[in-house]
Structures are given as C-alpha cells and as structure tokens.
C-alpha cells in the first residue's frame, strides 16, 4: 500500500476522480433528492452493512455501553476507502477492534439532515446512527437543543491529540459533546485566467470588472463570515444581528445589481473551472484538489480574514453503542490512522501529529500550506460564533431572502 501512496501522480488522479464524484453528489444534494444520493452513497466503498439493528434497544438503554457494533453516518467521499491494494480505515478498525462497523456515506446536507432527524429527536425518539458528523454550527444547534449525548471521552485517550486551537470551540464550549472529524477554511477561490490578477482581499469580490462572474456559497456562515470580517466584525464573538446588517446590505446590493452570478454549494468548482466564475467564496480542500488539474485555480484566505469550519463527530441522543464509538474515535485520533485519511481527503486534520506521519506517505502533501497552515494563516481565520436561536433565525431569514429562495 505504501508503494501506491508514494506515487503522487497516481494518488492525485485518484483523488481527482473521487473529488468529481463528490462534487456531483453535492450538486445533486442541492436538488433535494436524498433518495438518489442515498443509493449512491450506500453502494460506496468501505461500508459494512452487517449491523443494521443498532438502534433496536435505543429507548431502554440510552446511556448503556451497547453491543459490539457501530453505525457512523458521514459525508460522502470523506474517508479512505478499501480499493486496489489499500485497506481503508473502516476495515483496519474492524480488524483491530473486532467491532462490526456500518459506515454509511449518506449524510449529504446539513439542513436536509436536520429536517430528517427533527421529528424523531424532537420528540425524544432515537435515530439509527451512533455517530454523525454535522458541520460545527449544526453541532452547536444540536447541543443547545439537547439532542446529543456527551461523548464517552474518558474512554478515548487519543482525544488528547486534538489540535490546541480546536479545544473547547465556540460551538461546543465545554468540549464534551464533539470531536472534529475534518476541518478546513473558507476563503476566495479564483481562476487567474479570468481575473487576470492575483486576488487577496474580500473587496475583490465586489470589483465591477468581475460583474456577473462572482459566486457565493449558500453556506451562510462562510459567505457572511467573509463579508463581516471585511467589515471588521470579529465573527468568533458576534452575538447580534446588527453586527451583520451592513454585510447583509452589501450582499443584497451586489445580488441586485448582478455582481453575484449564483449562490452555490459544492458545484462552484464546475463554474470556476469553466470560467463562469472569475472568483467565488470556496473551501480549501476542494481547491487543493482542483488546482492539481487546473493550475489557474488559486485559493487565498483574504487579508481581512477567512472562516474556519469543522465537521465534528457527535452522538445523537439515545445512541446505544457508546463503547464501540469510543474505540472508533480513539482509533481515528491516532496520528498514524488520521494521516491515511488526510492523504485521501486532503482537508485539514484535527489531529496533532498528522504532518509527521503524512511525510512518510506523501511528502509533498505534508508541506502544503492549505493542509498545514502556518500560524500567520491561522491568526486570520475565525470560526463563526454560536448564535442563539432567535438571532440565528434572523440571519437565516435575511440570508435566504437575499439568496433568492
């Protein structure tokens, strides 16, 4: 397996193919056809379906140790699969721990997933998976609604490897409910062929020269985060709607006069490489991969600041297999195992010590500043504060009124 990994070209082309698969799925996710996606995700690699009865005794033993099985529902293409002569993390974990694991790639969209679990968790009924990995803002919402259990963190010694900057984050102030799965940044992605110059500021998104060629993300915290940082608002402490009022006005004006071409999910990658977008708000991991094929695609964390996000593992209330979940989290927080995942997904690992391990697998990737940002970069990335329910509702309502939905 090392021989394959040592050939960067082979690995890169593999990643690119997988990236396209993911982009396609995400694009379709925007279409709200979860059934199709579930079918795609379910047939994917690394999944063992041998333990579908995990929630059978959920109501009786909400905090029990549970059996020797585990169900993790994660985003698509977010782990190293078993293919060719590589053994995926799920298989390695099952072999090492003896736990029967069901890893499903059926988590496609935060908002839709929330809509799906709301009727169950909202009425105190458990859901099937033992672990899910929502984006940080949704983790915050689930914690404040009381819909997640505390993690059995004392059974996860490797949790000590959590990166210092991710300990007790805004979305989980006590750090008892979540362990990040992968993290990354939102900044400005641009196609230098279309812009004709390097970009470095959020102001560049409002350059009239790019009218009708600018994209923004439908992920509210990333788009608004960038615009609010450009206003000098510290989004990691923001708590009122007024702090965002100016940024919203600006966004609305840019949308009305046609500066913004479209609000997108992951499908911005397509628009960027075809030249429909000159520049857009984008995510670091995607662009790292896209830039391999198209060197004109660049990514910058704007000088005013970029957002940092995390998808974090949580245990929905009433999840039964706590011991197995602890074993899994411990396994993934071992830098040796985490490096295998990073080599595949190319996001920023939440596990300290991954860089040293990745050097052994893929030295080039191990020095990529977008995977291992330096302190100066980290200093200008901010994670969005946990908004309280009423304020969040105001943000969401205004944002969706502007995005035109």
């Amino acid at each position: 397996m090392n021989s394959q990994n040592n050939d960067p070209l082979a690995r890169m082309s593999l990643s690119r193919r997988r990236l396209l698969a993911r982009a396609g799925m995400m694009g379709a996710a925007g279409m709200s056809l979860p059934a199709i996606l579930a079918a795609c995700g379910g047939s994917s690699d690394g999944a063992s379906t041998s333990s579908s009865d995990t929630s059978a005794s959920g109501s009786e033993a909400p905090l029990g140790g549970g059996g020797n099985s585990l169900f993790f529902e994660n985003w698509p293409e977010y782990i190293d699969p078993t293919e060719d002569d590589l053994i995926g993390t799920v298989e390695r974990f099952m072999a090492a721990s003896g736990v029967e694991m069901n890893y499903a790639e059926t988590y496609n969209d935060n908002v839709e997933y929330f809509a799906k679990i709301q009727p169950l968790l909202g009425t105190g009924k458990p859901i099937d998976p033992d672990i899910i990995a929502p984006t940080s803002w949704l983790v915050g919402r689930l914690i404040s609604l009381g819909w997640v259990d505390k993690l059995p963190i004392d059974l996860v010694p490797n949790a000590a490897n959590l990166r210092a900057d991710l300990q007790k984050p805004a979305w989980d102030p006590t750090g008892e409910y979540s362990l990040p799965w992968q993290t990354g940044f939102a900044g400005i992605a641009y196609n230098i062929e279309s812009t004709g110059r390097e970009l470095k500021s959020t102001e560049d998104l409002f350059d009239p020269a790019f009218s009708g060629k600018i994209g923004m993300l439908t992920e509210m915290r990333d788009t608004m985060g960038l615009l609010m940082l450009a206003d000098g608002v510290d989004i990691s402490t923001v708590s009122t709607f007024d702090a965002a009022a100016n940024a919203f006005d600006r966004l609305e004006a840019a949308k009305n006069d046609g500066q913004i071409r479209r609000f997108t999910g992951n499908d911005y990658l397509n628009d960027l490489s075809t030249g429909n977008f000159a520049a857009c708000v984008g995510w670091s991991g995607d662009v790292v991969q896209l830039a391999v094929e198209n060197p004109n695609i660049r990514f910058v964390i704007p000088e005013e600041g970029g957002t940092s996000w995390a998808d974090a593992m949580v245990m929905p209330k009433g999840a039964v297999n706590r011991d197995a979940a602890a074993k899994w989290m411990d396994f993934c927080y071992d830098p040796v195992q985490a490096a295998q995942i990073t080599a595949e997904v190319q996001y920023v690992s939440p596990v300290a010590g991954v860089q040293a391990e990745l050097e052994k697998i893929d030295p080039e990737l191990a020095v990529n500043p977008l995977l291992f940002p330096d302190d100066a970069t980290l200093a200008r990335t901010y994670s969005f504060a946990n908004l309280d329910e009423g304020v969040e509702a105001e943000y969401d309502a205004r944002f969706s009124a502007i995005t035109g939905a």
Binding site: G27, V111, A115, Q118, I260, R261, G275, G404, A405
Partner: protein, 368 residues
C-alpha cells in the same frame, strides 16, 4: 372532491327518495352514506385528529362500511345490487383519495393556519393564523409573479415549437412517424436533472452556444432583445424559460400529435372541394379539431412549470427565483412549515382558478 361528482345524477336520487316515500330501504342512500362515512373516517385518521384506540376504532368502522356494503349487496335482491354497484366501484378509489389526497390536503390547510411555538418545534399549533397567508403574498409576491410568468412564456413557446413539430410528424411523417416520435421521447429517458445540468455546459460562458452566437455576430442583437446579458446567457431569465421550454416540449407535442392524428383527412378534402385554400382549410378544419390536444398540452405544461424550481436553480440567478424554490426553502431550510403550507395552498388555488377559467374559455367537452 369525488363526493361532489359521483356518476349518479343527484336529481334522480332526489326524485326517488322524495316521490316513493313509502319505501323503507333505499340502497342508494345506504351506498352513498357508507361511502361518505368511510371517506370521512379515513380523513380523520389520516390527519391525526384521533390517535391510539380511537384511530383503531375508526379504522374498524371503515372496514365495517365495506362489510356492510357487501352484506347489503349479498342479502338484497338484484335490484338492490344494481343500485349499489356504482358505490361499490367508487369505494376503493374514494378510500384511496380520502387517505392520500384529502387527508394530506386537510393537514396542509391546518398547517397553513398554524403557528410554530418555537423555531425547531416539531408540531405547529393550530390557531387560525391567517398571517401566514399575508406573509406568503408580501414576502414572496415576486416569486409568484416570476413563477407564473416564466411558466406562461414557456407554455406559449412549447405551443409555437410543438405544434409544427406534431403537425409534420402526423401529416408528413409517413412511415417514419414512429421513429420521429421516438426521437422526441428518447432524450426523456434520461433524468430530468441530468438534462437540465447538461444545459449548464452548453450555455456556459465558454461553452458552444455563447461562442457560436458570438461568432455569428448575434450577441448585440440578443443583448438588445434582452435575451443575453453581456456575454452570458446562462443564469439569465432567458435560460430559465429556455430550460422550461425544452423540458416540457414533449408534454405539449405528444397530446397535439394525438389529436392531429385522429383527424379524418377526408374533412380537409371536403374543405378543398368547397374551394377552400390550404391555409383556410387548416384554420377552419384542422386547427379547431386539434384544440383538445393544445388544451391538454397546456395543462400538462403550465401546471408543473409553475411549480418547477429545477430550471431556475441550475439555469437562473438569484434575481430570477421562483415560487417552487421558495416553498422548498421554507420547508427544508427555514423549517417554517406554516408559511410553506400557506404558499403551497396559494399556488394550488391560483392554478385551480387558472384551470377553471381556461377550461371555460376552451371548453373541456372535446377533451377526451
């Protein structure tokens, strides 16, 4: 809604029930009564008004109406059976509609008049909150207008494109008719989504269509007509309307083809014998006879196109948002069930009113 239009003429049943008052047992009354009772019971269960033991009781009663109907038919004479037969035949459809159409509709109506106690509440409280309807109009008026506007333009365009297409296949297709019809249908074996996303590539700024238009020097003309916006055609209203037209063309062309194909060509010959020219024969004979096809095609195109959001999502821009998209957003992103329900209801009402006016205007008598 099926209750109001059973095949039995209300006059006849009234005549029978009033005139021979000495009759103690009226099978038609029994049939209708059991039908309505079963429908009402299923609506009550389906909307969740009763739960637990009461719901079980209601379902048992529903089953009882079926048993009673069969029992009456078995015990009664041939005359009774003859009179009960229509109600028995209506029953399966009625029960289906009660559970899967009427009950959801009533639930939707209740939701549209409810208020969410908190943002992530699972159930909305029913309190006659008509404010949801004013929100639907004030906040989403533009989306309603665009939704119906785009659908109307696309419907007219599908007639303009689909009518000649159907005409040529029906009257000039000869032995290639089947093949030509197949060519219309085959692309639609591909997913609706994939076809719409394919237009993204065709219309992309550097894609084949804008470059061809540019090479032909048509860009300034199209800009002046408002079809293109600078060098781009993707993410403009024209692209949304074009996508709708493309996606709904078969729904217009096929019904028109069917009605054209049924026309007896001897009628055209007769018109020509009476010294009518080809054009006049078309407008006096063929066009009026093909109107049922146009009518059906218009309904099949306009109604789904009004609620469509796929074309807008992939081919439009944030300034072209339509009502279907807003409803989806209110349901799934904002978790605002009451307002989303009110919007759905308004959309449904507007379409119903449109269909009623339209069918008065064109008449449905010829529509078979």
């Amino acid at each position: 809604m099926t209750i109001s239009e059973p095949t039995l003429d209300p006059h006849s049943s009234r005549d029978e029930s009033t005139a021979p008052a000495r009759r103690s047992f009226d099978p038609e009354r029994l049939g209708l009564g059991l039908l309505l009772l079963a429908g009402a019971l299923l609506v009550v269960v389906g909307t969740g008004m009763v739960t637990g033991a009461l719901a079980t009781l209601a379902l048992a009663l529903t089953l009882g109406t079926v048993v009673a109907l069969i029992g009456a038919a078995v015990l009664g004479g041939p005359e009774v059976r003859r009179k009960l037969a229509p109600y028995g035949l209506l029953k399966p459809g009625m029960l289906w509609l009660a559970l899967f159409y009427l009950a959801p509709l009533v639930t939707l109506l209740r939701n549209s008049l409810s208020t969410l106690p908190s943002r992530f509440a699972v159930k909305a409280d029913f309190d006659w909150n008509f404010g949801n309807y004013s929100t639907a109009f004030t906040d989403f008026g533009g989306q309603f207008q665009r939704g119906f506007g785009y659908a109307a333009v696309a419907t007219v365009l599908t007639i303009v494109l689909g009518y000649p297409l159907a005409y040529v296949i029906a009257f000039r297709g000869g032995k290639y008719r089947g093949l030509l019809l197949g060519l219309i249908i085959i692309p639609f074996f591909t997913s609706y989504l994939i076809r719409t996303i394919a237009w993204q590539s065709l219309l992309a700024d550097t894609g084949p269509i804008p470059s061809a238009l540019n090479d032909l020097g048509l860009q300034p003309v199209l800009n002046a007509m408002g079809i293109m916006d600078g060098d781009k055609i993707l993410n403009t209203p024209a692209a949304v309307i074009g996508g709708l037209t493309y996606n709904f063309l078969p729904f217009m062309a096929l019904p028109i083809y069917v009605s054209l194909e049924k026309i007896n060509l001897n009628l055209v010959d007769a018109a020509k014998d009476l010294y009518s020219g080809s054009v006049r024969a078309f407008f006096k004979v063929i066009f009026p006879l093909s109107l049922p096809g146009v009518f059906a095609g218009t309904l099949l195109t306009f109604i789904p196109a009004s609620g469509d959001f796929v074309n807008q999502q992939y081919l439009g821009n944030p300034n072209t948002s339509v009502i279907g998209q807003s409803i989806q957003n209110q349901f799934l992103v904002q978790n605002n069930l009451p307002v989303a329900s009110a919007m759905s209801f308004v959309l449904m009402l507007i379409i119903t009113v449109f269909v009623i006016i339209y069918s008065r205007f064109f008449g449905t008598d010829d529509l078979t």
